[in-house]
């Protein structure tokens, strides 16, 4: 892959920092997040890749990744990250940014309505449907 001429601006990185209080630049790719992620096998980009992409400023790839919506915020990565970077919060901040930038979201209830309410509400909150 060739690096694009323009990577994410500092202000975009600052946004992530503001939302999470964490500095993704500090990640040194130990991949512990990906090692323990229960959703890893369903992701197109693993948590450590998301951190690396964020670090490199390749935010378009981050936003295009399905993994953002697969992360279940179980916090396993966050609680074990040796750099104290909380990858789960970083993922959430990207999710939130994306949702904030798409103002007209369709409101749908397209899931399985027999599941516990907690699942329904959580899913809707995560996806802002």
């Amino acid at each position: 892959m060739r690096f694009p001429e323009k990577t994410a601006s500092n202000s975009q990185r600052e946004d992530v920092k503001h939302m999470t209080g964490k500095e993704v630049k500090d990640c040194y790719q130990c991949m512990k997040c990906s090692a323990g992620c229960p959703m890893a096998s369903h992701m197109d980009r693993l948590p450590h890749e998301m951190m690396q992409l964020a670090k490199l400023g390749l935010l378009e790839e981050v936003y295009a990744s399905k993994s953002l919506w697969i992360c279940a915020s179980c916090m396993a990565c966050s609680s074990r990250c040796p750099r104290d970077l909380e990858p789960a919060s970083v993922m959430e901040s990207f999710r939130v940014t994306l949702l904030r930038e798409t103002p007209n979201r369709e409101e749908t209830c397209d899931g399985d309505l027999t599941v516990p309410r907690q699942a329904m509400i959580a899913s809707m909150r995560k996806h802002r449907r």
């Binding site: 040194y28 991949m31 090692a35 890893a40 396993a76 074990r80 040796p82 750099r83």
Partner: protein, 658 residues
Amino acid sequence: MRIGVFVCWCGSNIKNTVDVDAVTARAKTMPQVVYAQDVQYLCSEVGQSEIGQAIDTHRLDRVVVAACSPRMHETTFQKLMAAKGLNPYYVEIANIREHCSWVHTDKEKATVKAIDLVKKAVAKTAFAIPLTSDQLPVTKRALVIGGGIAGIQAALDIADAGYPVDLVEKESSIGGKMAQFDKTFPTLDCSACILTPKMVEAATHENIRLYTYAEVAAVSGYVGNFNVTIKQKATSVNPEKCNGCGDCVTKCPKKVPNEFDCGSSKRKAVYTLFPQAVPNKPVIDRDNCIYFATGKCGLCAKVCQTGAIEYQQQDEMIENQYGAIVVATGYELKVPDHLGEYAYGQHPDVITSLELERMLNASGPTSGKVIRPSNGKMPRRIVFIQCVGSRDRHDGNPYCSKVCCLYTAKHTLLLNEKFPGTESYVFYMDVRTAGKNYEEFYERARQQGAMYLRGQVSKVEPLGDADNRVLVRGFDGSLQRQVEIAADLVVLATSMEAQPNAKTLGGMLGISTDLNGFYTEAHAKLRPVETQAQGVYLAGVCHGPKDIPEAVSQASGAAVKAIILFNKGQVKSVPTTAMVEKDRCSGCMQCQPVCPYEAISQEMVVERVHGKERQRAVATVNRALCQGCGACAGLCRSGAMDLGGFTSRQLMAEVDSL
């Protein structure tokens, strides 16, 4: 008074942010300044000779240097002054690099600040008084604190140079951590084979006196003349009478976990630390001894044929004088139970590297066999986890422990050699092999079959199967995939940490610890064995993680520093000492208790008042003891106490100039 001002460019370091021309021009207008000049590099030979010439041509008697921090080059300029026949304390430095050009970006504002700093230095130097230092004698005996390999090496080197050395060790034997190791990387030498001769040499050296089972309790004094109180803990065994037969150990009924084997074996309450201990005399561990708990038992005393057991022994305080101190107090290993995800302490088959090292050791708890602590059987699959508690700012130490990469490679090699059926997997973040022949050693480990997987382990869990194995859940960066290994044994490369009492000892010695608890050297690059306290030198891991060869070379370096001091035989006293203006002193003696060096005492002066002779008490300063902190001067109510180099007049002038 004729003051000359010299403004340094420091190449572009100062010039890019500070308008040096403007500073020089402005300096010329300052009171008493007769000459000002800017120079590209003042610390260079050219720069020095420029100052020298200017002193001659313009008959300067005071010099202000606007350059880098005085902590950097103050002595350079002081020497120049002395060479020119001027008092070294007639030079004042305005720090326009570290405190100005490097920390600011706005050139205009930085220039204004630089001018202020020069003005301040000019004001201060106008009130400078000449200072001299005295030569003080040096006690030619060294103290080495810590009897590990670094301490032993330092003691041997100083002793070989012909100076007496006292070696203090808190355990009952010297040897330190190295005595616990089986083999050493990258040569796989047997650790004991290379260490024990040194231990014996230290014990038998005519210039070395061992204080084992002893600790430093108090330190006072200064370079050349330290007063140290050593607490000799009661061993309850008379070393003169004891012949080391070991009958007492055999008979002792009390068993406690053996720290030397990381608790994986038992020792008695009366014990020698390990079979090759030096001195090879047992001690009674009073916290665990039945006799000391209940007053009953006394078996050891009964079986001892020489009557060496002395229950009534007391801790003893020994006071000695030393000229130099080498600190070699080493480290502790962090118990990795703070990282719950690795299940240390939760599952018996999760162990530390040192526990494995002890098992591999032929004189260790398993006589060299590697077993699973849960069932005593041989493990087939062994998983090594690197950086456990190191490089971890979330739940551990932020620094690299430096030796784990190599000793893990060593462990995989040893396992492969001794037990060919075993499989070793190493989960790592980075492998660091900066050291002579280290990369080759690591390569050998990989070639011999150690399987390296780049990625940190996230979780170690009991598998719950019939073999009671553990499931290690990690990630392989090359496969880009989660990997799970059902392992028989998990070995954690746990972090090296400063001794828990490092700060206390550092406080006694007047040396500081860094954010991680290791002792700080005087200069990170050029004075790595010296400390802020003159005459106190560092050796080994107490200064930061390092391997054996590094610790040994640092120890020799520290020894040489002490030897240099002894060879010189004299130290220069601090010139910036406190001084009393006796006429003003009211004799209130408030200064006496604040002095940390007991340098202030009371003196009677005879005065003539109304034609009569009267005696009056005033304070007086012992210049040999005073270290120049100025606590007394800061507090003196009558303004009688002052501090050379930082007189009230000088400091007030600085304040006024701003």
